[in-house]
């Protein structure tokens, strides 16, 4: 990758608060036009990384470059071309949808005329045309999120930093956000997304980095990660004596993992496993293709908390 094609570059970044290391020697690089995911459970350091990219906190060590600007020293210049969707909405609840966009555009030094020129397309993008003059406090959670997304686009940013963009939304609202994010990627925007939501990462991200306790434990394309770390079918088994089951099916499995009340069996030929479980009315058996959840379980020995 030559420099101008890189939207975000982190080299050896470390951040600790007191004795607690939040981000540990992290390096990754995001190309322009790419959707890059930071995937990890709560407390993995995702939000801290997002705040460091914006220059709102300084790393203890390491080098950060965002849109060719060194951060935090020139973070302000970088932020002019960055849009942010934070984990918790911080919209102006007593303002209307349109006023929210107006006020936010002013923070970027935009003239009223320039803001008015872009507002219709933003409202259309966020599917909020009919809500332009409605007070934000009256909007649903999904609408508020879409307004936050529209607000993040007011300065026509090259890069969007999104911290858990769909956390707390119902499935319908979530799918609408995903669809909108894909539309942005089609326009050539770069997206950095943090999520603890595997499906979101799998659907949207070109590449992702799996984090645990501030450390990178894997990086790559979702499919490649799944192939590399799992590469076979998965059978989830609930119920019964898990230790007994483990003994029963281990000979037919490539790998068996127990997490909570579930036994995960990774097997090239799942039919062999199913055969041995036939007639067991006390068990619920689910066969499915592998996903990122399995990768996380495989790498850390535990399920990701939701």
């Amino acid at each position: 990758m030559n420099m101008s094609n890189v939207a975000i570059d982190l080299v050896g970044v470390r951040k600790s608060f007191g004795d607690k290391v939040i981000v540990n020697d992290l390096s990754f690089s995001v190309a322009r036009g790419e959707c890059f995911g930071l995937l990890g459970p709560n407390g993995a350091g995702k939000s801290t990384i997002a705040r460091m990219l914006l220059g709102l906190i300084s790393p203890d060590r390491g080098k950060i470059t965002v849109l060719d600007e060194p951060v935090p020293s020139r973070a302000r210049a970088a932020r002019v071309r960055v849009g942010v969707v934070p984990q918790f909405d911080n919209l102006e609840l007593e303002f209307t949808v349109r006023e929210n966009l107006l006020v936010f555009g002013r923070y970027f030094g935009m003239s009223a005329r320039k803001i008015e020129a872009v507002v219709p397309s933003l409202l259309e993008f966020a599917r909020l045309e009919s809500k332009a003059d409605v007070r934000v406090s009256l909007l649903s959670g999904g609408m508020k999120r879409r307004l936050t997304l529209a607000r993040a686009l007011i300065n026509d940013p090259h890069l969007l930093v999104m911290d858990e963009p769909t956390t707390g939304l119902d499935p319908h609202a979530r799918h609408l956000i995903w669809e909108r994010l894909r539309a942005l990627l089609a326009r050539g925007k770069t997206i950095l997304l943090t999520t603890h939501f595997m499906e979101e990462a799998e659907r949207l991200c070109d590449r992702l980095c799996v984090l645990e306790s501030g450390c990178k434990i894997a990086e790559g394309k979702p499919d490649a990660l799944i192939d590399e770390h799992i590469g076979c079918n998965v059978i989830e088994i609930y119920g019964g004596d898990l230790n007994q089951l483990r003994e029963l099916i281990t000979p037919y499995a490539r790998h068996v993992e127990v997490s909570g009340e579930t036994l995960f069996c990774y097997a090239r030929y799942p039919e062999q496993v199913s055969l041995h479980l036939r007639g067991r009315a006390d068990l619920r058996v689910l066969q499915r293709p592998p996903n990122l959840e399995d990768v996380f379980l495989r790498l850390t020995g535990r399920e990701m908390e939701k």
């Binding site: 300084s58 302000r76 002019v80 006020v103």
Partner: protein, 262 residues
Amino acid sequence: MNDGYASVMPANAYNWTAVWRRNYLAWRKVALASLLGNLADPITNLFGLGFGLGLIVGRVEGTSYIAFLAAGMVAVSAMTSATFETLYAAFARMDVKRTWEGILFTQLTLGDIVLGELVWAASKSVLAGAAIGIVAATLGYASWTSVLCAVPTVALTGLVFASLAMVVISLAPTYDYFVFYQSLVLTPMVFLCGAVFPTSQLPDSFQHFAGWLPLAHSVDLIRPVMLERGADSTAMHVGALCVYAVLPFFASTALFRRRLLR
């Protein structure tokens, strides 16, 4: 980071206006209620103390007590208006409403935000101070020109107390701590600084101490203007108020950096 504090200072001379305009837009929606609220308290004090005590007190420093008090009330209402705007409204925007957080995602710095909030609070002081002035002028206790001449000092007073309150909110974990500042700092200042009675009534040591307090400088500037008398040491009073406005601005911005940018 060596440039850590430099990076949170105002980025330019006009970024703060976006914050001021945000607050103005929010205020416009509740302007009527806000104006009435602004007026009610000081006017009640003016009439209650002015007419009630005025009968007993008679003349003070060669003028009627109510005219003496009106000038003090202009300074006090500038002080309380800027203080309350900062303590409650700005604190909410900084803390629970996360308004500042959203602004920090843009090209504004923490210093831009704090400056915008200070000028906004000072603007509300001007409204509050002017309201008392207008009442006093209407009733003939001050001339219209003298009220107009007091406005710059009222604005400066607003900046001073907004700036001091900024330090309080940068340190206070919750709203509950503001009461200490109100009852241990602001209320004593009203009585020590000559707002409701001449400082010459105080013991010498108190007079000496009171002379350092910001409200005393405001009262010493506003009262001579309102009563159309010659003022002493104007430059010193203005200078002292400027120090009280500027130092807490830098202190609070540095404290907010520690609180918010970590």
